[in-house]
């Protein structure tokens, strides 16, 4: 093999220019090892640039999320301060109501700070997932535990279908699933059922939640997982983004089918559901 000294020198100069931050096209797209080397270097440069971009993107997101968080916390705090002021001057018969309002505010703030801290931990990769094999039923039961009263109050029956074994962190996955079920409950009318199905295929094991609501349009689906952009009717836009972060952290994802049961769920039930289906997937 013969390589010209000049070609090598030019290549090395060009690499130097890239190191110094210039954008240089290394490719000459010919046959032969030198051209392949050029391509390999170009691929490496592209990967490095991608990493740098991801880092910058993360930083921007952190900045946004900090200002979102402070806004999210300020609103309930301000209203509680007003309530406390009122409590000082209000006649005694009003006290019970004001204290109840204060308590509601505190509970919500507590939930909020909890969720925000979890999200921050996940973002910072400071969560060590305790991965093991678990029956889907165990995860579903755990997710339903804090929600049973809510579901009973709304008369929403939870139906289940299918079976699966998932390799995941049970506690975190149940947390994610719980947020998705809570969302399903909020968007289903009272007295209508919610379907929780699960299954496995060669690519992933999954648990899905289908509600009896009105379904979702593509544009709405795009907004679901953006933080602090809830639809204004329920929640703060934290539950679903948190669930997505948890799944992605474990090499999984959440898929949404806006209306009509997707095939993987439809084959497990004869019933009809009007609403959207959220599928939590964990890749193998």
């Amino acid at each position: 093999m013969w390589l010209s000294k000049r070609a090598l020198e030019t290549l090395s100069q060009n690499i130097r220019r890239i190191v110094d931050g210039e954008s240089v096209d290394l490719l000459d797209n010919r046959e032969g090892p030198l051209s392949i080397l050029r391509n390999d270097i170009q691929t490496l440069v592209r990967m490095k640039q991608e990493q740098a971009d991801a880092l910058r993107h993360d930083k921007e997101r952190l900045k946004d999320s900090l200002s979102d968080i402070s806004h999210q916390l300020k609103t309930p705090l301000t209203s509680m301060m007003v309530m406390a002021d009122l409590l000082e001057t209000a006649p005694p018969e009003k006290h019970a109501e004001l204290v109840r309002n204060l308590q509601t505010g505190l509970t919500r703030t507590q939930w909020l700070t909890d969720a925000l801290l979890k999200m921050a931990k996940l973002d910072a990769d400071a969560v060590a997932f305790n991965v093991r094999k678990a029956d889907a039923r165990e995860i579903v039961a755990r997710a339903l535990e804090p929600l049973n009263i809510l579901l009973e109050m709304k008369g929403q029956d939870v139906r289940t279908a299918g079976e699966a074994e998932l390799t995941c962190d049970v506690r975190w996955t149940a947390e994610a699933l719980g947020n998705v079920i809570k969302n399903a409950s909020e968007h289903s009318p009272a007295g209508k059922p919610i379907l929780i199905a699960c299954g496995e295929n060669p690519i992933a094991a999954w648990i899905s939640v289908t509600d009896s609501g009105e379904g979702l349009k593509p544009g709405q689906i795009a907004r679901l997982f953006r933080r602090f952009q809830g639809d204004g009717t329920a929640g703060y836009g934290i539950g679903l983004p948190l669930a997505q972060t948890i799944l992605r952290g474990q090499n999984g994802d959440i898929e949404v089918d806006g209306s009509g049961l997707p095939p993987h769920v439809a084959e497990l039930t004869d019933e009809e559901y009007s609403g959207a289906t959220f599928t939590l997937k964990l890749y193998r």
């Binding site: 096209d25 490719l27 797209n29 010919r30 046959e31 060669p202 690519i203 994802d253 095939p263 890749y283």
Partner: protein, 227 residues
């Protein structure tokens, strides 16, 4: 980081009265790691768009930049080499080489440069595509779904800047289509692989992050499906 930029792309076939504008001033850009579906009825220009981005055909006017490189400034042979090293192509009818095994077909982009892929990477991809026990089979001994998975492996093996798939599930039943889409989504997430899928099937398109709708050679809509 913009991995693909399409600027004012126009393609006119024929002359005079018989002139047909297959693509009419189409512009859009794609960020690294995006998963995009291009939809439209037949005749809307989506296949023409795919051929131009893939550098298989040349436009009447307009530019396509892949990873910052204006691909139409290259001559045919340079473009062919650029394409096989930087663009992964997946077709409806697989286009596998019948005399090469599944493993060799996947390795093809490397074999053409007289080298071999990293054995670990090859094994990983065979595993993800569930082809490990079919690696020494010839295409004729594989089912349609398996052949399509081989062609996906071939598109992925050398970390191309972008993968273009033209009706990748057009020849498969709905169940197999779904599992092929699952694979695309997994590769998109796992390797931050940029994907552009052309399809006439709305359901398939809804699996992507962003949908471009073409009509009469123009972009009718460009909308995000998920964040």
């Amino acid at each position: 980081m913009k991995i693909l930029q399409v600027e004012g792309l126009t393609k006119v076939y024929g002359k005079g009265d018989a002139q047909v504008k297959a693509l009419d001033n189409v512009s859009f850009s794609v960020e690294k790691g995006e998963f995009i579906a291009v939809v439209g009825a037949s005749g809307s220009g989506k296949s023409t768009l795919m051929h131009l981005i893939g550098g298989v055909d040349r436009p009447t006017t307009g530019k396509v930049q892949v990873d910052g490189k204006d691909i139409f400034t290259m001559n045919e042979s340079n473009l062919a080499i650029f394409r096989r090293r930087n663009i992964g192509l997946i077709y409806q009818f697989y286009n596998l080489i019948p005399t090469l095994t599944a493993e060799e077909n996947i390795s093809l982009p490397y074999l053409l440069d007289r080298r071999r892929p990293n054995p670990e990477k090859l094994l990983e991809i065979l595993g993800l595509l569930a082809l490990t026990d079919r690696r020494t089979h010839l295409p004729g001994q594989l089912s349609g779904g398996q052949q399509q998975r081989v062609s996906i492996g071939r598109a992925l093996i050398n970390d191309p800047a972008v993968i273009l798939a033209d009706e990748p599930t057009g020849n498969l039943d709905s169940r197999k289509s779904r599992s092929i889409m699952e694979l695309f989504k997994m590769f998109n997430r796992q390797y931050n692989q940029t994907l552009l899928i052309i399809t006439h099937d709305e359901k398939i398109a809804l699996q992507a992050d962003r949908i471009l709708t073409l009509e009469d050679g123009r972009i009718l809509r460009d909308e995000a499906v998920r964040a």
